[in-house]
Point group: D2
């Protein structure tokens, strides 16, 4: 008999991004992305988009190299969190409890097979907007900023990994994520995967690291209200001298309307439209894309830009184009 699916993780809570240029990265996220600072602690600044309900969805931490510090996953309840910890404890993936970041309660730390750090938590701080950021409508977390790209909420992130299949099985078996789309090479090797624990069609993705390096970061995505706002974002990046890597265009996979840039610290950041596409089916059958299909390029024919396959953070020493250090 088939087990019922694990539904203990509520959603992607936040990401910790590392940056060698903390001040410039901060200005980028506040002035250009339109985010709000909601706390500071040590070498980190906490940031949020106007529709994020938690105090933060981005922890920006000064570091020697760019990349991802960790991703935070919020459990559906305290009990749900405990069930996940129970499942992980004693495995090679478990690391152990910490006191939690400034903005949320105790977190159980683990890592995926590729070494990306994950923090599971339930207790969190709901954002309390100060008077000058209080919204006109009380069903909204914070006033619409009317500044820069006005990003609405954290949408998803994308990691690089050496063994996609191993990562997929980890997230399915230990955390209850569901695969919605994937790329499978002609050899049968899995080359990319998109997973969700919500009705969004993905909460994160992993693609194969062409350099064969573990633990690297591809991009984090913030959503805006509409495709029109993605287009406005492109103009805003252009006006502010932010390097646009590719887009706006529509992905064939997941049909996301995308726009990729590099923030000053070297990490890739995406602006995409919010949630027009939802996965409501509880028994969704993963879409499998073949090599031949991928060769057709993006939805409207754009060829995928070369850097998209190799650039990540941190750069891989000695591999040109693999990241900001080596360019």
């Amino acid at each position: 008999m088939q087990n019922e699916p694990i539904t203990d993780i509520a959603h992607l809570g936040h990401l910790e991004l590392l940056t060698p240029k903390p001040e410039e990265s901060l200005r980028f996220f506040i002035d250009i992305m339109g985010m709000t600072e909601s706390g500071r602690e040590g070498d980190s600044v906490y940031l949020r988009a106007w529709d994020d309900y938690e105090r933060h969805t981005l922890k920006l931490t000064a570091a020697k190299e760019p990349g991802m510090g960790h991703m935070g996953l919020r459990a559906r309840s305290q009990k749900a969190l405990e069930r996940r910890v129970e499942a992980l404890k004693g495995t090679e993936f478990a690391i152990g409890w910490n006191d939690g970041d400034m903005c949320h309660g105790p977190a159980f730390v683990c890592q995926d097979p590729d070494g990306h750090r994950i923090e599971l938590y339930y207790e969190t701080q709901w954002y309390q907007a100060p008077a000058n950021l209080r919204p006109a409508l009380k069903n909204q977390a914070q006033r619409f900023p009317a500044r820069g790209c006005n990003v609405r909420r954290l949408d998803h992130w994308n990691g690089l990994a050496v063994d996609i299949k191993a990562n997929r099985e980890f997230f399915e078996n230990y955390l209850g994520f569901r695969l919605t789309e994937q790329i499978v090479l002609d050899t049968g090797v899995e080359a990319a995967m998109w997973m969700t624990c919500t009705n969004k069609s993905y909460d994160f993705a992993y693609t194969r690291d062409a350099t064969g390096t573990k633990g690297r970061f591809h991009h984090v995505t913030y959503a805006v209200n509409s495709r029109e706002e993605v287009l406005l974002a492109a103009d805003i990046f252009l006006e502010n001298g932010v390097k646009i890597e590719t887009g706006p265009h529509k992905h064939a996979i997941q049909q996301t309307f995308f726009l990729y840039v590099y923030e000053p610290g070297g990490n890739r950041v995406e602006i995409a439209n919010a949630g027009a596409r939802l996965i409501l089916a509880p028994d969704w059958k993963p879409i499998r894309w073949t090599e031949a299909e991928r060769k057709k390029g993006q939805a409207w024919g754009l060829k995928t830009i070369e850097s998209f396959h190799i650039y990540g953070t941190p750069a891989v020493p000695g591999v040109p184009g693999s990241g900001p250090e080596s360019t």
Copy 2:
């Protein structure tokens, strides 16, 4: 100790609408809304929007009076369905099993305290697009029609009820829906509620029937990709002589960008933008709107149109303005 939430219902599956003008209603949904016929049986025609994954989301049935026949709720699994049936069996709400509609498996029929008919099912037919409706991208159910309003998917529906609180408790206790927003009068009486079982901020709503009549229907909503498409829909309705009741404008509650019209059979139909706003928090605290707040009108100040409070289907005999018969 608090029980964990019930998460057995996956999503709103479909609605059965009754119409005294079946042929005209059918033309409305196909030619103007841009939907596709996907089956016929007896007095009913099955219809779907291009992004609906099931074979149908609308069952249009010829009847003497307009109104809602039933709403279909798809369970998350066969086991989840059985748990819900177990909970309902023997209560005053339970009616019993039937063989299911043409497009899905056996359904357990029940009714909410106000008498709206509900069918719970798990087995369903995934839509298989015929060659001429096959989409270019294989992660999509059906080709984008490029006809009329091009509605994307069933979004939610709205019922009228005499006792909102009783209905709320029924959906919370027996089906696991969560309240996201509500109107509570100064007397403490609940006047409206918005509930969800997904990450959408509501899958249905109930508002108090000003005529004190049970079981009436307020509207069904199909989502389009963007607010720009809601505006285009307004032009298309105007061009086709479809009565626009109110909108486009933005609701304060739920912040939906709305547009209401009457289909030829007299039922109210809404076009709204798709899912920019999501409820990701597993512990969302319901937003409570007061009488004073409601008096401010819609988000941008539009006064709620009078007919919105009384018009439903079917009309109430002897109550002018209460529905299509009496106008």
Copy 3:
């Protein structure tokens, strides 16, 4: 034999708005509308939108009462200006030359039959963006601000007048404007008119002043890129406590997608979408709207708000609702 049309006026150049709350009005136009200060002189501040090619399109002048100071019309050439002056000189409408505002050359001042002050000029200052406002693309006047409503350019303005026909004939005969649409009452009295000297469907409009007062101002309109940005503007006004009078909705006349607010000084300001509709026909036949047609309301059925018919600046003493003073 028919004379050839006069084509000496190139476009509406700017508007001078009077405000009793100069500091608050200035903050409104800069912070909320997203305009840029481009000069100061005496009691006036000069402002511009990012796509305006002249140094300013709005002159904001401190005054005891709100209203319009004057409208500036730029001639097509120095010779064209001289031809218009020749035609006007010696008439009851002519006032005489002045040295011009800070941002443009000598102007010939006249007034329409209702007493609105008009300045005709040709020499002007093209905007020279300082380094921090220089755009990325050199075919653009100024960097996209990414602040507030990001208004793009001055679009048109609307005056109130007692005798619409007299005003129409003045603009046709002396300045070469063409009538594109009008309202004519059942009595044959002209009640409103929309005129253009460009391919825009109107550069200004006049509507009958219900109070029978001369020289009042109805609104000034700045255009944004898209209807989506008009909707975003509505949210921004809501968030900033700016009173939305009506909209967003679509006018039947001219099909403008409109949104009306009051700036702190009491003057009505409109945000509308830019130029999708153009009048290319050199022999356009004016559209005449009847009383019966106007009773249908706006394009999608919205009833025209009462204040729209009586509110103007300045208020008329003793007439409640006629303007900011009396409300």
Copy 4:
């Protein structure tokens, strides 16, 4: 003393496109572009977009090879037409009068230095919509079709030419078009030009033919209401198997939001957004783009696709990639 500018041409009236696949081209323009047939005569079908005021803006003519038959320019008046004929008569560019197409009056035929055929006319047929295509609002030419891409109006066209400077001078001196932007190579050779006789920033463009062939056609452009509709058009082309050459993206030059496809006859067709950008200045200084600037690619960094530089209609015999025949 400087002469005053010639303003005798009102706007681009129509284009005659030649197609070797007349039936398939017709289906493309009607079903996918959303245009309407408004007449037939001999080997030609007349077509129009819903906001075009004349009876047609596209004449589709069966021919052995694709390409442009002629462009029609409407004069501002009969007298204006006569002035242009006077100027042209006796020059190498003049061909002579014909009776005019089915939808307009007598035309004076001439050709530009590169051999593109031009017809000047004034008398025309305003479109009279039949009952089923009559719009709800009387200031609109025809009902919004709600079919395919719903193109709004003819916007501009683009020719290929061997000597851009010669063509520019012809249009300036004989027809009064104004140059708004141009590409000038480091050698001083003009490589492309955009010209207007309206407030649109261009009514046509010419780019250098890399094959050195005279009289070829690059593309015709129809405008839609918004960038969102350009994006929808991309999906509609994708769904209908229409080859997307490049886009949607934003041109640096003229800032047009573009999308290029090939119609079945092989001619390139563009969908672009309507007129947000207007040239109101009567003394606009042409923007000159250098080779270095062009190397930066399009506005948001997209590299201009190779075929864009060589593909035209008809193909040049023996030059691979120069058109549909040779591919």
